[in-house]
Amino acid sequence: MTLTRAKISWRTIVSRMGLFSLIWWVLTNGAGSSWWIGVPAVLLAVAVSIALVPPAPWVWSELLRFVPFFLLRSLIGGVDVAWRAFHPGVPIAPDLCIYPMRLPPGLPQVFMVNTVSLLPGTLSVGLDQSVLKVHVLDSRKDFLAELEAVEQSVARIFGASLEVSEGRE
Amino acid sequence: MQTLYLALALFLLVNLGAGMWRIFRGPTAADRMLSAQLFGTTAVAVLLLLAQTKENTALLDVALVFALLAAVTAVAFVRRAWTDQEVDHDSE
C-alpha cells in the first residue's frame, strides 16, 4: 500500500472533474436541477480519487487508438471461446506460460493484466515482480505476438518506453 | 420488438438455469463462485432488456447497481471465504 506522492497538477484535477461531471450528467440524464447534489458529489469524488489514484500520464490520443483495437480483439476473443464451447470435441489445449513484462509497475502493468484477460485465448493468472503468468486456452496458437502487441500499445498509452526499462535487471 | 425483448430475457433466464448446474457440481469452491458471476452478468443483461420493455429508466439504475456490486461479492469470496486447501465436504 505504498502511495507515491506524485505531484498533483491542475491538469489532473480539471480532467478528473470533467470526467466525473460527465458521469454525473450521464447518470442523471442531464437533469439541470441535479447539480445541487451533483457539484458536492463530483468534488467529493475528485478529492477521493486524488487521494486514491495517483495521477497517470495518459496519452489520450493513444488511448483512443487503443479502443477500437481492444474492442475488435475482445470480440474475436468472444468468438474464439464461443467456437470452442460449441464445438462437439471441445478443441482446447490449455497451458501456462510466463511473460516477463517490460512495462513499469503500477497502473501500466495492471492495465495490461486486465486487457490480457479479455483478449482471445489468454487469461492472466498471476503477476509477480513484473512477471506475468498467462493461462492460454490453446497453446498451439501464437499468443506471444499478441502479448507483445498489447504491451507495445499499453506502453504508448502511458508514454513509457520499453527499451529503456529493458535493462532494469 | 417487445416480444423479442421478452423472448431474449426468457432465453437468458433459461440459460442461467443451465449455468446453475455448476453451483451443484463444483468441484471446487471457485467453480461455484463462477456461477454467481454468471448470475451477475446475466442479471444485468436481463434488466437492460426489461428496462426496454417497460420503458422505465429506473431499471437501468438497478442494472447499474448490479454491475457495481457483483464484483464486491466475488472479491469477498476470493479474499475471505476461500480456504487455503480445497476440501469439499459434500459429495453429491
Binding site: L27, S34, A45, V110 | I23, M33, D61, L69, V75, R80
Partner: protein
Amino acid sequence: MLQWALDALLGLGLLWLAWCALMSPNLLKAIVLFVAFGLLMALAWVRLDAPDIALAEAAIGAGLTGALLLAALARLRFAYADEETVGSPAQEEAKVRFPQWLPAVPLLLVVAGLGYVVLSLPPYATGLSTEVTANLESSGVSNPVTAVLLNFRGYDTLLELVVLLVALLGVWSLDGLALGRETAPGPVLDTLSRFLTPVFILVAAYLLWVGAHAPGGAFQAGSVLGAAGVLLLLAGWRFRAGLTELPLRLVLVAGPGAFVIVALVTMLMEGQLLEYSPEQASILILFLETTATFSIGATLAALFFGGRPQDDKEHT
C-alpha cells in the same frame, strides 16, 4: 404468453433456489445459492412493477449480504479451525440437546398468525395509495415511496436506522474474532478498489438525488457507499487509528441523530412528531437522507469489518 413463461420461471426458480439454499449442507454453496436468490428476487420485483424494491434488493440483497455472509463464513471457519469442521464432538452434542423439530413450533405459530391476518382482511380494499397520491403535493418529493418512507411514516425509517445501529452495537459487543492472516491483495484488486471508489460515490449521490422523484433513496445510496467501504477493506485498506474512534462513531450516529433532532424540533414547532410543513419538507428530507446515507454506509462497512476497529491490531 411470454410474460407468463417468464414469471412462472422466476417464481419457480425462486422457490427452488430457496429450498436448495436452506437444504445445502455445504455453507459456501448455500451462500452462492442465496446470492443467486437475491439476483432473481430483484428480477421478480421488476416484473411486479416495484423498481424501488428491486433497487434495494440489488444493493442490499444481492450485493452486500453476500459479502457479509462470506465474511461470516470465513470467521466461522477460522474459529473452528482447530476442531474438525464436520461432526465435531461439540456439534454432535449440540444436535442431541437441541431437537430439530423445535424451531418448527414458533414457525407454525407465525404461519398461523399470518394466515389469520390474511383471512381476516376485508375482501375489497383500496389500500392507501390513493391517499398517498392525494397528499403527494405536500410531501416535498414526487416519488410516492420516498414520501411514505421519509414523511408520512418517517418514524418507520427512524426506527430502521436505529435497528441497523443496534445490530452494529451487537456485533461490537461480541468478542471480536480475529481474521486469519490476510494475503497481499495484489495490484489488480488494489487498482480496482481505487478506481471504483469515486464511481461508487457518484452513484450513491445519484441514488440519493433520484430518490426524490424516482426509485432510489438513502438506503440504496447508503448500501452503495457501504459497498465501497467493503471493497476498500477487502483490498487491505485500513483507516488510521485516530479516525476509527470518535469520527467513525459520529458518522454512525449522524443519521439517526439528525432524525431524532428533526423529530423533536418538528414536535415543538408543528405539534406532531416528524410533521414537516410543506415548504420545508423538501429540504428537510434531503438533509435527513444525506445524513442517513453516510450513516448507513458507515454502519454496513463496519458490520462487514466485524469487531471494533481499534481491536484490529494485526494490520499495518
